[in-house]
Symmetry: D2
């Protein structure tokens, strides 16, 4: 199904080689300041062709808002947004004709749907994340009003074998965007860029990881059993195309779990630990939220990479997508928490 969220709900549509992609957000409260510029700014961060590191597919990705706004504020009605495809060039894909693209889901998809879009990846294309970014921008507009002080920022923490250090404090989005790799450590960023360009020349690809941190979290978001904050984030982030793993907790949490409990929880018997990632008992504990998302290298390689227009490394462009999914989860859980007047 193509909807995400329970109360703040995103429905997405569109094939990468069809007329348009878009999104409908239902459940955004009325009275939130919002305009096309807010969404366009988010889309521009995801747009292909921002630097030599990304795909050559040139799409303006110009958004048009169709409903849900009046005099610069949301109406509480569904907000529909549209982006037309202008540079489909399906002919690039025609070369593959009836053959399945290796490492892709073509055969699996065909087994399921019995009818297939031969023009390109259709809904499995990374272009689908455009709709997520639209939804995320609307979610951020709501969160800015409902939880002033809440800020989410994601950055590239690993490309191939190159790992960036764990920052003492999360960077700003400006610091992240300062380098085309979206790694906020200049030296590591430079090495990562060189590695990506080399992979691009070899028609090879690279994976890595993105870290995301939300500061200014309210306490109590999430549900105790099903719908835990960490489960909702896992669902949201594991749903992004090439994601191979998700973990909670600042720094190298998956290494730290090898520690005995007394050391793992050390210094934390009084105050919540960074190793909890801002989540306890399924609910946010008011501390900063920390999540890491692992991406595998894309499967578009060799001749296929020569023919189509793909990113040798999608990590830099995944950063705004990760932020969007976190915003969608937090907006939805914020409404869900409001819904229940406990202790009235």
């Amino acid at each position: 199904m193509n909807s995400f969220g329970r109360l703040f709900r995103l429905t997405t549509f569109g094939e990468s080689h069809g007329p348009a992609l878009g999104a409908v957000v239902d459940g955004c409260p009325a009275g939130i300041p919002l305009g096309e510029a807010d969404i366009q700014r988010a889309l521009d961060r995801r747009r292909p062709g921002q630097s030599a590191l990304t795909t050559a597919r040139a799409e303006a990705d110009k958004v048009e808002l169709l409903s849900g706004l009046y005099e610069g504020k949301t109406l509480g009605t569904p907000i529909a947004a549209l982006v037309r495809n202008t540079n489909q060039r399906s002919a690039d894909y025609a070369a593959f004709g009836e053959k399945d693209r290796p490492g892709h889901a073509d055969a699996t998809w065909r087994a399921r749907f019995q009818h297939q879009d031969r023009r390109g990846g259709g809904r499995t294309s990374g272009r689908e994340t455009l709709s997520r970014v639209i939804g995320g921008a609307i979610a951020e507009a709501f969160l800015a009003k409902q939880h002033p002080g809440l800020h989410t920022v994601a950055w590239v923490s690993q490309i191939g074998p190159l790992k960036a250090p764990t920052p003492l404090a999360p960077p700003t989005r400006e610091e992240v965007d300062a380098h085309p790799t979206r790694c906020p450590f200049p030296q590591e960023a430079g090495e990562m860029a060189a590695l990506i360009l080399s992979a691009k020349e070899n028609f090879d690809s690279l994976g890595g990881s993105v870290d995301v941190c939300t500061q200014g979290m309210p306490i109590g978001l999430g549900e105790p059993v099903f719908g835990k904050l960490k489960a909702r984030l896992a669902d949201a982030l594991a749903g992004i195309g090439a994601v191979s793993g998700v973990c909670w907790g600042g720094g190298d949490i998956l290494g730290d779990i090898a520690l005995p409990g007394k050391r793992f929880h050390e210094g934390n018997v009084q105050a919540p630990s960074a190793r909890y990632g801002g989540i306890q008992g399924g609910l946010s504990n008011g501390e900063a939220l920390h999540v890491r998302v692992y991406f595998k290298p894309t499967a578009t390689l060799g001749d296929m990479a020569k023919a189509g227009r793909h990113d040798a490394c999608i990590l830099p462009r995944a950063v705004p997508v990760v932020e969007a999914m976190v915003a969608l989860v937090l907006a939805d859980l914020s409404l869900q928490t409001l819904a229940f007047p406990h202790g009235l």
Copy 2:
């Protein structure tokens, strides 16, 4: 919220120190052979007190089926099951009185709900997983009928710093249950057991990882955008109490993503790779499903561990819970796939 699943849906209830815990499964098709023994067998694998490695809380965990069955088969109506608590001993917890238990979610929970069960962990207790195991046993009964040949098995792959090797083929449940650690490699299992006993004596705790593999998978389970098979599994598994991370792909996938794409996908341009974990484009590709789940060490330490009755290492008892959550996801996606007669 306390329901899981869309079509095959589990609703759970019960506090760890209240009268009972239980589950209602709605959406199990009619005509599936099922009896109390099927559920009891699953509960017995999760039950405390199975070996010296687990908590001393002795609960018979005897299940009673209340509805949904007639002459040994499901009726297509809700299946309700009940387990009474017999050994609550809330007095153990009374010692903590009004103080919050360190490393626990008490303060977070109170901030959210304004009213709190002082008798013990309530719904945040690991005892809540009992209801998941009931749901999983019913899901497995359905899967056995709908997808003969489908088998899920989970095992302990890491305890503290001790890691088991990656098996060439997944073990059987009998092999897993042969050792109280539920690690199917005898030498590593022995070392792990010693480590757990030592942690228990020190009122310390240990984390680790559980691997799970499903063979005999049908092709095409999952959804392409939201509701991808990996997202549903992430949601399901991240919702288990102490889980800190989830990844897809056999072996050390989170290390492998550092490889360049040509090596990561090596040998797989023709056939799906084990590194895909049995999932492509969000859908099962018909290969075996591979997921790893990371658990942090529990926060019940020192004086608190002396007073209450907790596991120094929950990994062995988490094995049937992981299997249950996988079964619930697969049963739900199986129905969801049937619902859409593509290409009719």
Copy 3:
């Protein structure tokens, strides 16, 4: 499916001739005063055997609460309740053996589920409404706290061809319960009682209508397009066994629609009209809610009525069921309205 509601959600289970029936309410906020007595009181109003007018099936319908409560208040966790069947007497039904009961859904049900409970009506039995009454009692406990002054009362307004007048103000529940027909007009109630006793002697049955009115309504409950207050009520009330129609608006609204608009809306151009039934644009307008529910005569007739234990007229016992469904809708919409902080 066997769940009702989106945020305040009732899940029901149990066959009329199985071990037990019950309900799980998920989404009731924490801190609401609630005890078994509140639910028992509601069940006693629905219970068979209250007067000579009802079925001879004697069930104590004693409720047991299994979870969700602590020190007399809700915990915000699922509230599970159980009622054991004590007087199943399936032998009464055995007479029908393999034959379908005329006018019943036996053949339809079998076509759908392929497996059938031959012990009696199973989930199609009116005994299923017991679970709705449990849910309604919990919903009323929440509404009493969240919307003090909100009161719902239902009464019998027609039995067979006998119609009661439209009261100037809704009666109290005490006035309604004063007569076994639950018609608050003594003369009409007497005639209705005589008609029911005569039908009972003839193994015949009678339909009619129940009116329901909620005073003290908050303004703005409901949704503008799908999920309108009237649509939610229609769904809730049309789901009760023998219901053949539902309409909104005080008095004889289905006759009044024949009036020209100027007369229909007469006197109401300034103030909301009783003919709107308290709903405008899909939302409650703050005036009293008025709904009428039409029931067809039950299909248990002649030899079948002699053998089983059925009501010749279910209307009097339907009154608390109608009230329960209204309470469930209002509780759910109340939470849903709270969830959206419009104009923050």
Copy 4:
């Protein structure tokens, strides 16, 4: 919320005086023949300005399909459709300025959303039904493939005090469309037309009823407890703007319930009765489905009717909307029935 359906799901958007209205259908299986012409044909039946009986607002209501199709068949992905508003003329409404329109939901809506579209009715306008008709056309395309022989037809059965007879067999859509009133009885249709024209001249309005019948129904659609076929239809039809009541059963079912059971069920102890409306135990019984929908006269009267562009009687244009909602329910329940392989 603005979504309808569980598996075959319609999400709608758009204000009557904003840039566009539209719909996204998620859950339509792949491989269903569908084109813009199928949807345009349905919209043309709802379009204003078809005859002297309807509003003067002239909208071409030209649909554009944005996604979900490839080579004339559905892809199994979301189908998004758009209709631009071309004749908003909000100035007509400006006259009302800050005053609430009598009999309308302006005050109620403002109390809920705190922010209001002063350009016209926004989402409460009847123009919103355009999105339902788009959804219905897609649902009918699916039903044509999945259940050949299934046909739904609706017609006007009452306008003001004028009632048409109950037809022996349901008319065809061509017979219904032959007269601008959409009443298939020529004499009554003529009288109704005269009555509507007279109301129009007097800036008055008229209510009435629409009957709908589906032949070729499969057996077993619906759910036994919540989600009964009749409850789903009630929800769907009560959600249409001016609807005041819904009932099931051919002819004058709400009069017939006054009959004693032996006469009500007469002749039907062997075969299902027309008085059951094709539904037993919540499920379709394979007989024709019969529903009647009652509409109140619209509240746009006097000066308000002179200024804006409204229908004196919306019944003729409601006919395709009623059919659309029935199609959406049947498509959704058809998928839901397929999902559960009872008796496998």
